[in-house]
Protein backbone atom coordinates (compact mmCIF):
# COMPACT_ATOMS: atom_id res chain seq x y z
CA UNK A 1 0.00 0.00 0.00
CA UNK A 2 1.13 3.53 -0.75
CA UNK A 3 1.95 6.15 1.83
CA UNK A 4 -0.85 8.69 2.30
CA UNK A 5 -0.64 12.18 3.79
CA UNK A 6 -3.13 14.70 5.08
CA UNK A 7 -2.22 17.94 3.32
CA UNK A 8 -5.12 20.27 4.09
CA UNK A 9 -7.93 20.82 6.57
CA UNK A 10 -10.82 23.18 7.18
CA UNK A 11 -13.91 23.43 9.30
CA UNK A 12 -16.83 25.71 10.08
CA UNK A 13 -17.69 27.12 13.44
CA UNK A 14 -19.73 24.58 15.36
CA UNK A 15 -23.12 26.12 16.17
CA UNK A 16 -26.41 25.26 17.88
CA UNK A 17 -28.06 26.35 14.66
CA UNK A 18 -26.41 27.52 11.45
CA UNK A 19 -28.12 29.80 8.99
CA UNK A 20 -26.38 27.93 6.16
CA UNK A 21 -27.84 24.76 4.67
CA UNK A 22 -25.84 21.55 4.95
CA UNK A 23 -24.82 21.98 1.34
CA UNK A 24 -23.52 25.47 1.99
CA UNK A 25 -21.61 24.31 5.06
CA UNK A 26 -20.04 21.50 3.01
CA UNK A 27 -19.10 23.87 0.19
CA UNK A 28 -17.58 26.58 2.40
CA UNK A 29 -15.50 24.02 4.25
CA UNK A 30 -14.39 22.02 1.22
CA UNK A 31 -13.25 25.26 -0.41
CA UNK A 32 -11.43 26.33 2.75
CA UNK A 33 -9.62 22.98 3.00
CA UNK A 34 -8.60 23.00 -0.66
CA UNK A 35 -7.44 26.62 -0.44
CA UNK A 36 -5.37 25.72 2.63
CA UNK A 37 -3.20 23.44 0.48
CA UNK A 38 -3.53 25.44 -2.73
CA UNK A 39 -5.47 22.78 -4.60
CA UNK A 40 -8.66 23.18 -6.61
CA UNK A 41 -11.59 20.84 -7.14
CA UNK A 42 -9.97 19.91 -10.47
CA UNK A 43 -7.09 18.31 -8.55
CA UNK A 44 -9.50 16.10 -6.60
CA UNK A 45 -9.71 12.54 -7.97
CA UNK A 46 -12.45 11.24 -5.67
CA UNK A 47 -14.64 12.34 -2.76
CA UNK A 48 -15.74 10.51 0.37
CA UNK A 49 -18.67 11.79 2.42
CA UNK A 50 -19.34 11.32 6.10
CA UNK A 51 -22.66 12.36 7.55
CA UNK A 52 -24.56 10.50 10.25
CA UNK A 53 -28.29 9.66 10.36
CA UNK A 54 -30.45 10.96 7.52
CA UNK A 55 -33.17 11.39 10.14
CA UNK A 56 -31.48 14.53 11.53
CA UNK A 57 -32.50 16.40 8.37
CA UNK A 58 -35.13 13.97 7.06
CA UNK A 59 -33.41 14.39 3.71
CA UNK A 60 -33.25 10.82 2.54
CA UNK A 61 -29.88 9.85 1.00
CA UNK A 62 -28.41 13.04 2.40
CA UNK A 63 -25.06 12.37 0.71
CA UNK A 64 -26.77 13.04 -2.63
CA UNK A 65 -28.14 16.32 -1.33
CA UNK A 66 -24.66 17.28 -0.09
CA UNK A 67 -22.76 16.08 -3.16
CA UNK A 68 -22.39 19.36 -5.05
CA UNK A 69 -21.19 21.17 -1.93
CA UNK A 70 -18.68 18.34 -1.52
CA UNK A 71 -17.32 18.84 -5.04
CA UNK A 72 -18.32 15.30 -5.97
CA UNK A 73 -19.97 15.63 -9.36
CA UNK A 74 -18.35 13.67 -12.20
CA UNK A 75 -16.09 11.98 -9.70
CA UNK A 76 -16.14 8.64 -7.86
CA UNK A 77 -18.14 9.38 -4.70
CA UNK A 78 -19.15 7.25 -1.74
CA UNK A 79 -20.59 7.72 1.72
CA UNK A 80 -19.66 5.67 4.76
CA UNK A 81 -22.00 5.58 7.74
CA UNK A 82 -20.99 4.32 11.17
CA UNK A 83 -23.26 6.56 13.22
CA UNK A 84 -21.17 8.57 15.68
CA UNK A 85 -18.06 6.74 14.47
CA UNK A 86 -18.54 8.13 10.97
CA UNK A 87 -16.16 11.09 11.12
CA UNK A 88 -12.98 9.24 11.95
CA UNK A 89 -14.04 6.45 9.61
CA UNK A 90 -14.32 8.99 6.78
CA UNK A 91 -10.59 9.57 7.27
CA UNK A 92 -9.99 5.79 7.17
CA UNK A 93 -12.02 5.59 3.99
CA UNK A 94 -10.15 8.46 2.35
CA UNK A 95 -6.91 6.73 3.34
CA UNK A 96 -7.72 3.49 1.52
CA UNK A 97 -8.90 5.29 -1.58
CA UNK A 98 -5.42 6.78 -1.92
CA UNK A 99 -3.38 3.93 -0.38
CA UNK A 100 -4.86 1.52 -2.91
CA UNK A 101 -3.17 3.42 -5.70
CA UNK A 102 -6.46 4.18 -7.42
CA UNK A 103 -6.52 7.90 -6.60
CA UNK A 104 -3.92 10.56 -5.85
CA UNK A 105 -6.08 13.17 -4.15
CA UNK A 106 -9.17 12.40 -2.07
CA UNK A 107 -11.40 15.01 -0.48
CA UNK A 108 -12.99 13.82 2.79
CA UNK A 109 -16.06 15.90 3.56
CA UNK A 110 -18.15 15.60 6.74
CA UNK A 111 -21.26 17.60 7.50
CA UNK A 112 -23.98 17.56 10.13
CA UNK A 113 -27.01 19.72 10.60
CA UNK A 114 -28.75 18.47 13.71
CA UNK A 115 -30.82 21.57 14.36
CA UNK A 116 -33.38 20.80 11.65
CA UNK A 117 -34.95 18.11 13.80
CA UNK A 118 -37.62 19.49 16.17
CA UNK A 119 -38.04 19.68 19.05
CA UNK A 120 -34.70 17.92 19.58
CA UNK A 121 -32.52 15.72 17.36
CA UNK A 122 -32.59 13.02 20.03
CA UNK A 123 -36.08 12.19 18.82
CA UNK A 124 -34.57 11.13 15.49
CA UNK A 125 -33.03 8.15 17.25
CA UNK A 126 -36.36 6.61 18.07
CA UNK A 127 -36.15 4.15 15.18
CA UNK A 128 -32.53 3.16 15.61
CA UNK A 129 -33.19 0.69 18.45
CA UNK A 130 -34.51 -2.82 18.05
CA UNK A 131 -38.12 -2.13 17.11
CA UNK A 132 -39.44 -5.10 19.13
CA UNK A 133 -37.43 -5.38 22.31
CA UNK A 134 -36.13 -1.83 22.84
CA UNK A 135 -38.10 1.00 21.20
CA UNK A 136 -41.47 0.00 22.79
CA UNK A 137 -39.98 0.81 26.20
CA UNK A 138 -39.87 4.51 25.26
CA UNK A 139 -36.12 4.31 24.86
CA UNK A 140 -34.04 7.46 25.07
CA UNK A 141 -30.52 7.74 23.70
CA UNK A 142 -29.35 9.04 27.05
CA UNK A 143 -30.20 5.74 28.77
CA UNK A 144 -27.29 4.08 27.01
CA UNK A 145 -24.76 6.60 28.18
CA UNK A 146 -26.16 6.63 31.69
CA UNK A 147 -25.96 2.83 31.87
CA UNK A 148 -22.43 2.82 30.58
CA UNK A 149 -21.26 5.63 32.86
CA UNK A 150 -22.86 3.93 35.87
CA UNK A 151 -21.30 0.56 35.02
CA UNK A 152 -17.90 2.20 34.40
CA UNK A 153 -17.99 4.18 37.66
CA UNK A 154 -19.21 1.28 39.74
CA UNK A 155 -16.77 -1.26 38.28
CA UNK A 156 -13.76 0.93 39.08
CA UNK A 157 -14.99 2.90 42.09
CA UNK A 158 -14.73 6.22 40.24
CA UNK A 159 -16.80 9.21 41.40
CA UNK A 160 -19.00 11.64 39.47
CA UNK A 161 -16.80 14.48 40.70
CA UNK A 162 -13.69 12.90 39.21
CA UNK A 163 -15.44 12.39 35.87
CA UNK A 164 -16.64 16.01 35.93
CA UNK A 165 -13.00 17.08 35.59
CA UNK A 166 -13.14 16.01 31.93
CA UNK A 167 -15.79 18.66 31.20
CA UNK A 168 -13.76 21.24 33.12
CA UNK A 169 -10.59 20.44 31.16
CA UNK A 170 -12.14 20.21 27.69
CA UNK A 171 -14.32 23.31 27.93
CA UNK A 172 -11.23 25.19 29.07
CA UNK A 173 -9.12 23.87 26.18
CA UNK A 174 -11.89 24.99 23.81
CA UNK A 175 -11.47 28.61 24.91
CA UNK A 176 -8.66 28.76 22.35
CA UNK A 177 -10.52 27.04 19.53
CA UNK A 178 -11.84 29.63 17.06
CA UNK A 179 -14.78 27.38 16.09
CA UNK A 180 -15.89 26.35 19.58
CA UNK A 181 -19.56 26.37 20.50
CA UNK A 182 -19.42 25.87 24.28
CA UNK A 183 -16.01 26.84 25.61
CA UNK A 184 -15.79 28.06 29.18
CA UNK A 185 -14.21 28.18 32.59
CA UNK A 186 -16.36 25.90 34.72
CA UNK A 187 -15.81 24.05 37.98
CA UNK A 188 -16.51 20.54 39.19
CA UNK A 189 -19.30 22.02 41.34
CA UNK A 190 -20.90 23.59 38.24
CA UNK A 191 -21.04 20.14 36.65
CA UNK A 192 -22.39 18.52 39.82
CA UNK A 193 -25.07 21.20 40.19
CA UNK A 194 -26.19 21.10 36.55
CA UNK A 195 -29.53 19.40 36.03
CA UNK A 196 -29.74 15.63 35.92
CA UNK A 197 -30.52 14.36 32.43
CA UNK A 198 -30.32 10.64 33.08
CA UNK A 199 -28.35 10.00 36.26
CA UNK A 200 -25.39 9.78 36.47
CA UNK A 201 -25.31 11.96 33.34
CA UNK A 202 -25.82 15.65 34.08
CA UNK A 203 -26.19 18.50 31.62
CA UNK A 204 -22.55 19.60 31.84
CA UNK A 205 -21.38 16.00 31.28
CA UNK A 206 -22.95 16.19 27.81
CA UNK A 207 -21.68 17.78 24.61
CA UNK A 208 -24.05 20.10 22.76
CA UNK A 209 -25.82 19.18 19.53
CA UNK A 210 -24.28 21.14 16.69
CA UNK A 211 -24.42 22.18 13.06
CA UNK A 212 -21.09 22.19 11.29
CA UNK A 213 -18.75 20.73 8.71
CA UNK A 214 -15.13 19.63 8.63
CA UNK A 215 -13.01 18.61 5.66
CA UNK A 216 -9.62 16.99 5.13
CA UNK A 217 -7.56 16.65 1.97
CA UNK A 218 -5.66 13.37 1.53
CA UNK A 219 -2.87 12.94 -1.02
CA UNK A 220 -0.46 10.29 -2.22
CA UNK A 221 3.20 10.63 -1.21
CA UNK A 222 4.17 11.96 -4.62
CA UNK A 223 1.53 14.69 -4.61
CA UNK A 224 2.05 15.49 -0.93
CA UNK A 225 5.79 16.03 -1.38
CA UNK A 226 5.15 18.25 -4.37
CA UNK A 227 2.61 20.56 -2.72
CA UNK A 228 3.84 20.81 0.88
CA UNK A 229 7.04 20.53 2.85
CA UNK A 230 5.07 19.53 5.94
CA UNK A 231 2.90 16.53 5.08
CA UNK A 232 1.28 14.75 8.01
CA UNK A 233 1.29 11.01 7.36
CA UNK A 234 -1.52 8.59 8.01
CA UNK A 235 0.41 5.95 9.95
CA UNK A 236 -2.46 3.72 10.98
CA UNK A 237 -6.21 3.21 10.64
CA UNK A 238 -8.57 0.83 12.37
CA UNK A 239 -12.26 0.17 12.89
CA UNK A 240 -14.28 -2.53 14.59
CA UNK A 241 -17.93 -3.34 15.38
CA UNK A 242 -19.08 -5.21 18.50
CA UNK A 243 -22.36 -6.98 19.31
CA UNK A 244 -25.55 -4.96 19.05
CA UNK A 245 -27.08 -6.94 21.93
CA UNK A 246 -26.27 -4.47 24.66
CA UNK A 247 -26.96 -7.05 27.37
CA UNK A 248 -24.27 -9.34 26.02
CA UNK A 249 -21.23 -7.15 26.53
CA UNK A 250 -19.97 -5.54 29.70
CA UNK A 251 -20.34 -1.80 29.26
CA UNK A 252 -17.48 -1.01 31.63
CA UNK A 253 -14.92 -1.35 28.82
CA UNK A 254 -15.05 -0.54 25.05
CA UNK A 255 -13.49 -3.67 23.58
CA UNK A 256 -14.37 -2.52 20.04
CA UNK A 257 -12.17 0.58 20.56
CA UNK A 258 -9.31 -1.65 21.70
CA UNK A 259 -9.65 -3.83 18.58
CA UNK A 260 -9.73 -0.79 16.30
CA UNK A 261 -6.75 0.73 18.13
CA UNK A 262 -4.73 -2.49 17.89
CA UNK A 263 -5.40 -2.58 14.14
CA UNK A 264 -4.17 1.01 13.77
CA UNK A 265 -1.18 0.59 16.10
CA UNK A 266 -0.02 -2.60 14.34
CA UNK A 267 -0.08 -0.73 11.06
CA UNK A 268 1.82 2.20 12.58
CA UNK A 269 4.36 -0.11 14.25
CA UNK A 270 3.40 1.20 17.68
CA UNK A 271 4.26 -1.21 20.49
CA UNK A 272 3.69 1.03 23.51
CA UNK A 273 1.02 3.65 22.81
CA UNK A 274 1.52 5.20 26.26
CA UNK A 275 5.01 6.31 25.25
CA UNK A 276 4.85 6.45 21.50
CA UNK A 277 1.82 8.71 21.19
CA UNK A 278 2.24 12.40 22.03
CA UNK A 279 -1.35 13.65 21.82
CA UNK A 280 -4.75 11.97 21.79
CA UNK A 281 -8.20 13.02 20.71
CA UNK A 282 -10.48 10.33 22.16
CA UNK A 283 -14.17 10.92 21.39
CA UNK A 284 -15.79 12.80 24.30
CA UNK A 285 -19.50 13.33 23.59
CA UNK A 286 -19.89 12.65 27.33
CA UNK A 287 -17.34 13.39 30.02
CA UNK A 288 -16.84 9.75 31.06
CA UNK A 289 -16.32 8.75 27.42
CA UNK A 290 -12.93 10.44 27.20
CA UNK A 291 -11.71 8.22 30.05
CA UNK A 292 -13.50 5.09 28.80
CA UNK A 293 -12.12 5.59 25.29
CA UNK A 294 -8.63 6.47 26.51
CA UNK A 295 -8.56 3.06 28.18
CA UNK A 296 -9.84 1.37 25.01
CA UNK A 297 -7.05 3.17 23.13
CA UNK A 298 -4.62 1.40 25.52
CA UNK A 299 -3.26 4.74 26.76
CA UNK A 300 -3.51 3.43 30.35
CA UNK A 301 -4.78 0.42 32.30
CA UNK A 302 -8.51 -0.17 32.70
CA UNK A 303 -9.88 2.18 35.34
CA UNK A 304 -6.69 4.26 35.42
CA UNK A 305 -7.65 7.09 33.05
CA UNK A 306 -9.08 9.06 35.93
CA UNK A 307 -5.68 8.98 37.68
CA UNK A 308 -4.01 10.50 34.61
CA UNK A 309 -6.70 13.19 34.60
CA UNK A 310 -6.47 14.00 38.31
CA UNK A 311 -2.67 14.06 38.13
CA UNK A 312 -2.80 16.52 35.21
CA UNK A 313 -1.08 14.19 32.74
CA UNK A 314 -3.81 14.67 30.12
CA UNK A 315 -3.89 18.47 30.45
CA UNK A 316 -2.64 20.56 27.53
CA UNK A 317 0.73 20.89 29.27
CA UNK A 318 0.78 17.34 30.62
CA UNK A 319 2.75 14.29 29.53
CA UNK A 320 0.13 13.19 26.97
CA UNK A 321 -2.56 15.82 26.31
CA UNK A 322 -6.05 14.42 25.64
CA UNK A 323 -8.49 16.56 23.64
CA UNK A 324 -6.28 19.64 23.30
CA UNK A 325 -8.90 20.81 20.76
CA UNK A 326 -11.50 21.13 23.49
CA UNK A 327 -13.26 18.03 22.19
CA UNK A 328 -16.92 17.50 21.58
CA UNK A 329 -17.63 18.87 25.06
CA UNK A 330 -16.07 22.24 24.26
CA UNK A 331 -15.97 22.63 20.48
CA UNK A 332 -19.33 20.97 19.91
CA UNK A 333 -20.69 17.70 18.61
CA UNK A 334 -21.62 17.90 14.97
CA UNK A 335 -21.41 14.08 14.92
CA UNK A 336 -19.50 13.16 11.74
CA UNK A 337 -17.84 16.57 11.55
CA UNK A 338 -16.59 16.20 15.13
CA UNK A 339 -14.65 13.07 14.19
CA UNK A 340 -12.92 14.98 11.42
CA UNK A 341 -12.45 18.01 13.66
CA UNK A 342 -10.42 15.67 15.90
CA UNK A 343 -8.28 14.41 13.02
CA UNK A 344 -7.84 18.04 11.86
CA UNK A 345 -6.67 18.94 15.38
CA UNK A 346 -3.92 16.32 15.12
CA UNK A 347 -3.00 17.73 11.71
CA UNK A 348 -2.71 21.27 13.06
CA UNK A 349 -0.93 20.22 16.25
CA UNK A 350 1.61 18.03 14.40
CA UNK A 351 2.37 20.89 12.02
CA UNK A 352 2.76 23.32 14.92
CA UNK A 353 -0.12 25.44 13.61
CA UNK A 354 -2.59 25.12 16.45
CA UNK A 355 -1.98 28.67 17.71
CA UNK A 356 -2.91 29.17 21.35
CA UNK A 357 -3.96 25.52 21.57
CA UNK A 358 -0.52 24.31 20.54
CA UNK A 359 0.76 21.74 23.01
CA UNK A 360 4.38 22.15 24.08
CA UNK A 361 7.20 19.85 23.01
CA UNK A 362 6.63 19.52 19.26
CA UNK A 363 4.34 16.50 19.17
CA UNK A 364 5.27 13.95 16.52
CA UNK A 365 2.42 11.48 16.67
CA UNK A 366 -1.26 11.58 17.61
CA UNK A 367 -4.30 9.33 17.73
CA UNK A 368 -7.93 10.35 17.07
CA UNK A 369 -10.91 8.14 17.77
CA UNK A 370 -14.68 8.14 17.40
CA UNK A 371 -17.46 5.85 18.60
CA UNK A 372 -20.98 5.25 17.48
CA UNK A 373 -23.40 3.06 15.56
CA UNK A 374 -25.43 1.33 18.28
CA UNK A 375 -22.77 2.53 20.77
CA UNK A 376 -20.49 -0.35 19.79
CA UNK A 377 -18.25 0.78 16.92
CA UNK A 378 -14.73 2.14 17.34
CA UNK A 379 -12.87 4.07 14.62
CA UNK A 380 -9.24 5.10 14.98
CA UNK A 381 -6.66 7.09 13.01
CA UNK A 382 -2.98 7.58 13.86
CA UNK A 383 -1.21 10.54 12.25
CA UNK A 384 2.50 11.33 12.48
CA UNK A 385 5.26 13.53 11.10
Amino acid sequence: MRKVAVVGAGMTKFMRRAQETGKELAWETAKLALDSCELTVKDVDCVVMGTAPDAFDMVHMKHEYLSDGAGAWRKPYVRGVLGGGTGVFTACQAWYHVASGMFDVCLAVTEEKMSSCLPHPQGAFVTCWDQFTESPLGTSLLWFFAWEMNRYMTSHGITEREIALVSVKNKKNALHHPCAQLPGEITVDDVMKSEIMAWPVKRLDVSPTSDGAAVLVFASEEVAKRITDRPVWVQGVGWCLDTMYIGQRDLYYPKYVEYAARMAYDMAGIKDPRREIDIAEPYDPFSYKELHHGEGLLLCDKGEAVRLLVDGETQKTGRQPWCPSGGALGVGNAIAATGVMKVAELFWQLRGEAGERQVPGRPRRGVAQAWGDEMQVGTVVVLGV
Partner: protein
Protein backbone atom coordinates in the same frame (compact mmCIF):
# COMPACT_ATOMS: atom_id res chain seq x y z
CA UNK B 1 -3.99 25.52 8.87
CA UNK B 2 -5.60 26.64 12.02
CA UNK B 3 -3.13 29.47 12.58
CA UNK B 4 -3.30 30.75 9.02
CA UNK B 5 -7.07 30.63 8.65
CA UNK B 6 -8.31 34.01 9.77
CA UNK B 7 -12.00 33.66 9.14
CA UNK B 8 -14.07 30.55 9.82
CA UNK B 9 -17.27 29.92 7.88
CA UNK B 10 -20.67 29.54 9.53
CA UNK B 11 -23.36 31.94 10.75
CA UNK B 12 -24.66 30.96 14.20
CA UNK B 13 -28.34 31.59 14.87
CA UNK B 14 -29.89 31.91 18.32
CA UNK B 15 -33.31 30.93 19.68
CA UNK B 16 -34.39 34.54 19.19
CA UNK B 17 -33.96 34.55 15.42
CA UNK B 18 -36.02 31.38 15.18
CA UNK B 19 -38.80 32.41 17.56
CA UNK B 20 -39.14 35.82 15.96
CA UNK B 21 -39.24 34.15 12.54
CA UNK B 22 -36.36 36.33 11.39
CA UNK B 23 -35.10 33.41 9.36
CA UNK B 24 -37.07 31.56 6.74
CA UNK B 25 -37.75 27.90 7.28
CA UNK B 26 -39.77 25.27 5.48
CA UNK B 27 -41.45 22.83 7.82
CA UNK B 28 -42.55 19.29 7.18
CA UNK B 29 -43.97 16.68 9.47
CA UNK B 30 -43.73 13.16 8.14
CA UNK B 31 -46.80 10.97 8.48
CA UNK B 32 -45.50 7.50 7.79
CA UNK B 33 -46.66 4.15 9.00
CA UNK B 34 -44.81 0.85 9.04
CA UNK B 35 -45.66 -2.72 10.04
CA UNK B 36 -42.61 -4.69 11.11
CA UNK B 37 -42.79 -8.50 11.02
CA UNK B 38 -41.51 -10.04 14.21
CA UNK B 39 -39.89 -12.93 12.35
CA UNK B 40 -39.59 -16.51 13.53
CA UNK B 41 -37.30 -15.84 16.52
CA UNK B 42 -39.04 -12.90 18.13
CA UNK B 43 -42.41 -14.34 17.08
CA UNK B 44 -41.98 -17.26 19.49
CA UNK B 45 -40.41 -14.94 22.05
CA UNK B 46 -43.47 -12.69 22.15
CA UNK B 47 -45.95 -15.56 22.10
CA UNK B 48 -44.26 -16.79 25.29
CA UNK B 49 -44.31 -13.34 26.87
CA UNK B 50 -48.06 -13.29 26.33
CA UNK B 51 -48.20 -16.47 28.41
CA UNK B 52 -46.09 -14.83 31.10
CA UNK B 53 -42.89 -16.67 30.30
CA UNK B 54 -39.42 -15.49 29.32
CA UNK B 55 -37.79 -17.68 26.73
CA UNK B 56 -34.34 -17.76 25.17
CA UNK B 57 -32.52 -19.96 22.71
CA UNK B 58 -29.33 -21.86 23.31
CA UNK B 59 -26.22 -22.51 21.25
CA UNK B 60 -24.72 -25.81 22.33
CA UNK B 61 -21.37 -25.01 20.80
CA UNK B 62 -20.49 -21.90 22.85
CA UNK B 63 -23.12 -22.80 25.50
CA UNK B 64 -24.48 -19.27 25.50
CA UNK B 65 -28.09 -18.40 26.09
CA UNK B 66 -29.27 -16.11 23.30
CA UNK B 67 -31.51 -13.40 24.64
CA UNK B 68 -33.63 -11.85 23.20
CA UNK B 69 -34.37 -15.27 21.70
CA UNK B 70 -33.12 -15.63 18.15
CA UNK B 71 -32.59 -18.36 15.61
CA UNK B 72 -28.83 -18.25 15.14
CA UNK B 73 -25.68 -17.77 17.20
CA UNK B 74 -23.81 -14.82 15.72
CA UNK B 75 -20.44 -15.86 17.16
CA UNK B 76 -20.47 -19.55 16.13
CA UNK B 77 -22.48 -18.58 13.05
CA UNK B 78 -24.69 -21.61 13.32
CA UNK B 79 -28.34 -22.36 13.99
CA UNK B 80 -29.37 -22.23 17.64
CA UNK B 81 -30.06 -25.69 19.12
CA UNK B 82 -32.99 -25.33 21.46
CA UNK B 83 -35.49 -23.10 23.22
CA UNK B 84 -35.02 -22.68 26.96
CA UNK B 85 -37.33 -21.20 29.59
CA UNK B 86 -35.75 -18.67 31.91
CA UNK B 87 -36.84 -17.29 35.27
CA UNK B 88 -38.67 -13.98 35.57
CA UNK B 89 -36.19 -12.81 38.16
CA UNK B 90 -32.82 -11.19 37.64
CA UNK B 91 -30.04 -8.91 38.80
CA UNK B 92 -29.54 -5.22 37.99
CA UNK B 93 -26.46 -4.99 35.74
CA UNK B 94 -26.68 -1.21 35.42
CA UNK B 95 -29.41 1.44 35.56
CA UNK B 96 -30.20 5.12 35.23
CA UNK B 97 -32.56 7.58 36.86
CA UNK B 98 -33.83 9.28 33.72
CA UNK B 99 -35.39 12.73 33.77
CA UNK B 100 -35.47 12.99 29.98
CA UNK B 101 -37.81 11.25 27.54
CA UNK B 102 -37.44 10.02 24.00
CA UNK B 103 -37.13 13.48 22.43
CA UNK B 104 -35.06 14.87 25.33
CA UNK B 105 -38.17 16.39 26.96
CA UNK B 106 -38.09 16.80 30.77
CA UNK B 107 -39.95 14.23 32.86
CA UNK B 108 -41.38 15.25 36.22
CA UNK B 109 -41.28 11.71 37.53
CA UNK B 110 -38.04 9.96 36.58
CA UNK B 111 -38.06 6.56 34.91
CA UNK B 112 -35.56 3.87 35.89
CA UNK B 113 -34.35 2.13 32.73
CA UNK B 114 -32.01 -0.76 33.45
CA UNK B 115 -30.15 -3.70 32.05
CA UNK B 116 -31.32 -6.78 33.93
CA UNK B 117 -29.37 -10.05 33.91
CA UNK B 118 -32.02 -12.75 33.65
CA UNK B 119 -31.68 -15.65 36.08
CA UNK B 120 -30.81 -18.90 34.34
CA UNK B 121 -29.26 -17.17 31.31
CA UNK B 122 -25.67 -17.14 32.53
CA UNK B 123 -25.63 -13.39 33.03
CA UNK B 124 -27.24 -12.18 29.80
CA UNK B 125 -29.11 -8.92 30.30
CA UNK B 126 -32.18 -7.41 28.66
CA UNK B 127 -33.28 -3.81 28.55
CA UNK B 128 -36.30 -2.93 30.68
CA UNK B 129 -37.67 -0.61 33.35
CA UNK B 130 -37.62 -0.77 37.15
CA UNK B 131 -40.48 0.76 39.12
CA UNK B 132 -42.33 0.73 42.45
CA UNK B 133 -39.14 1.73 44.31
CA UNK B 134 -37.37 4.91 45.43
CA UNK B 135 -35.10 5.53 42.41
CA UNK B 136 -32.21 6.57 44.65
CA UNK B 137 -32.32 3.22 46.46
CA UNK B 138 -31.67 1.18 43.31
CA UNK B 139 -28.21 -0.41 43.20
CA UNK B 140 -26.20 -2.42 40.72
CA UNK B 141 -26.41 -6.04 41.87
CA UNK B 142 -29.95 -5.68 43.28
CA UNK B 143 -32.31 -8.64 42.74
CA UNK B 144 -35.52 -7.84 40.84
CA UNK B 145 -38.64 -9.69 39.71
CA UNK B 146 -40.90 -9.08 36.70
CA UNK B 147 -44.30 -7.55 37.33
CA UNK B 148 -46.52 -8.83 34.51
CA UNK B 149 -49.48 -7.03 33.04
CA UNK B 150 -52.78 -8.82 33.72
CA UNK B 151 -53.37 -11.61 31.18
CA UNK B 152 -56.15 -9.86 29.29
CA UNK B 153 -53.95 -6.80 28.74
CA UNK B 154 -50.98 -8.67 27.28
CA UNK B 155 -50.48 -8.36 23.56
CA UNK B 156 -47.34 -10.35 22.81
CA UNK B 157 -44.77 -7.59 23.30
CA UNK B 158 -41.81 -6.74 25.50
CA UNK B 159 -44.17 -4.42 27.36
CA UNK B 160 -46.23 -7.44 28.57
CA UNK B 161 -43.78 -7.19 31.44
CA UNK B 162 -45.03 -3.99 33.03
CA UNK B 163 -41.84 -3.37 34.98
CA UNK B 164 -39.36 -4.98 37.35
CA UNK B 165 -39.52 -4.61 41.09
CA UNK B 166 -36.82 -5.19 43.72
CA UNK B 167 -37.28 -8.32 45.85
Amino acid sequence: MSEKIKSWPGTPLGEKEIKEKRILVTEWQPNLKYAWDTGAGYGRDFAELKKGKIVGTKCNKCRRTLLPARLFCEWCFRTADEWVYLKDTGTVNTFSVAYTGTAAERLKVPRIPALIEIDGSGGVAIMHLISDVDPWKVKIGMKVKAVWKPKQKREGAITDIDYWKPI
